[in-house]
């Protein structure tokens, strides 16, 4: 990867020092500079800088470098990241392939065709999961960062989302029907997906010392399940996942990413496990960005909140619309007691207009600068 490193100028360490203090400020209660902006950049930066989506997902070293470069370019976070949603399930028999336009998708036939297939599934232990395709991709990414841009390293274990990952093993539509007709099967499979994912997190913590747990309720939303269903099939398994991962040495950081509509189930998430470094991000309330004032009122005294701008508007060349939405969310939530981060409801789409990310940062500078409100 030496040649690839030569393609990128060194990080401006003055920028990095400031961004690091800014990044830490919500967690240490010392306001610095302005509210941070995290538009969850992924393959967008590949196409922005002349690579392909497939490059991004098949070359995790390159992806880490591109995100690091973009974070400096846009004045975002002082750390880099790379991930895809169908993590760890290759250890449970799923065959994953990247496409030209999508990250790793599950190929047919799905590993769970019959209820008996669930019983046959072997849950890999930490050592076994360390050898999986998923672990190897993350190890490549993290080894590259530790060797080349160590100042931008944070080890992260992803679980997006346990319900969605279980659904991918069966087929999403069939799995959603099972939640109503054969819930016991769902639970049996969710137990195995949860155990496997926690073992994956422990594998990362074993290799890198700790592992920030980033997890989400992405398929399990108010559009798909009732609040009771989300508690039963998503929330409870995420809490199990955290407990097992913590017992194995993963954590202590927790980042909850509730993508999609959580207008009916958000109260359930008031009971999440909280560690000293916890961020809660809720994407939408019905089809609108989840209100910043509601986030602050209900969660602000417990953890750091991340408020959203509608991801859909990040593509259009209407920079003022993004700026105004970001401004309104900041005005509503910027003084949240345990800190606030400005983001987008989900990953910025590949065709995101860079002008819109600049609009987010401009709004954070104009309305999220500590000491000016």
């Amino acid at each position: 990867m030496g040649i690839m490193s030569e393609l990128f100028p060194s990080t401006d360490m003055k920028w990095h020092a400031n961004a690091t203090k800014r990044f830490a400020s919500p967690f240490v209660g010392v306001p610095h500079d302005r509210i941070d902006v995290d538009p969850i950049v992924l393959a967008h930066v590949a196409t922005l800088f002349g690579y392909t989506i497939k490059d991004f997902y098949t070359k995790p070293e390159l992806a880490m470098r591109l995100v690091a470069y973009a974070n400096e370019f846009y004045d975002l976070l002082p750390v880099t990241h790379w991930f895809y949603s169908n993590v760890w399930i290759d250890s449970l028999g799923a065959k994953l392939e990247p496409t030209e336009t999508l990250p790793y998708i599950v190929m047919e036939p799905r590993p769970i065709q019959t209820p008996e297939d669930i019983d046959k599934l072997h849950v890999p232990d930490v050592n076994e999961v360390s050898k999986s395709m998923c672990a190897q991709l993350f190890f490549r990414a993290y080894d590259y960062v530790t060797q080349n841009i160590p100042h931008m390293f944070v080890p992260i274990a992803f679980a997006f989302c346990l319900f969605g990952m279980a659904a991918e093993l069966v087929g999403p539509e069939k799995f959603i029907i099972w939640t109503r007709r054969q819930p016991k099967l769902c639970h049996k499979l969710l137990e195995k997906v949860t155990e496997t994912s926690a073992n994956g997190a422990i594998a990362i913590a074993n290799k890198y010392g700790f592992a920030m747990l980033v997890m989400g309720s992405v398929l399990a939303t108010s559009s798909v399940l009732s609040p009771k269903g989300i508690k039963e099939f998503s929330f409870d398994y995420h809490m199990k996942y955290i407990r097992k991962a913590f017992k194995g040495g993963a954590g202590p950081q927790l980042w909850y990413h509730l993508c999609g509509d959580h207008s009916r189930d958000w109260p359930i998430w008031k009971d999440i496990i909280v560690s000293p470094f916890t961020v809660l991000h809720i994407g939408y309330y019905e089809d609108k960005p989840f209100p910043g004032d509601l986030m602050k009122k209900e969660f602000g005294d417990k953890l750091t909140i991340m408020v959203s701008v509608d991801t859909k508007i990040m593509v259009e060349p209407n920079f003022n619309r993004v700026y105004e939405q970001a401004k309104n969310q900041l005005l509503a939530a910027r003084d949240s007691p345990r800190g606030c981060i400005l983001g987008t409801a989900c990953e910025t789409p590949v065709p995101t207009n860079p002008g819109n990310i600049f609009a987010l940062v401009k709004a954070a500078r104009d309305f999220g600068t500590y000491g000016t409100w």
Binding site: K247, P252, V274, S275, F277
Partner: protein, 154 residues
Amino acid sequence: MVIEVVILKDVEKTLSERGISVDNVREVIEHGETTGEKIYLPAENKFLAKKVIGKATFYTMYSPLEGKFTLHSAYAHRMSMKEPITIVTAETTDWVCYKCNEKLVRSNIDMEYLGITRAAPGISCPKCKLSFIEEYVAGKTLVVAESLLEKKRA
């Protein structure tokens, strides 16, 4: 109150690794036994007590037997415990509050370190709010959190 503690070899090793003295252990057990501020696992006859000694909170898990106390484990954290901020009454544990005879439930507890207050996962009595940090959280999650807070604050 004279506290005679029986410490098995493997537990002795744990104490040494964690820098916990036998005097610390005696002090915590004495505190639990005299104040009744302790929780227990009825099926295993195990008790868990805690006491702030100096700048750390020490915990001991023990079983009383014929006037002696067999030590099962001991651990500590430097973060100082404040109040539980979430009490999830629907998620009970096997631990029972000695004073209230109520099952402890999962909670999030505000902890203070270096002047920073942030929450950590714990267990609390839903009635008297007596709260504890479990061994795996103290020994792993909080140790790393304390170290990260020191670095981030620097």
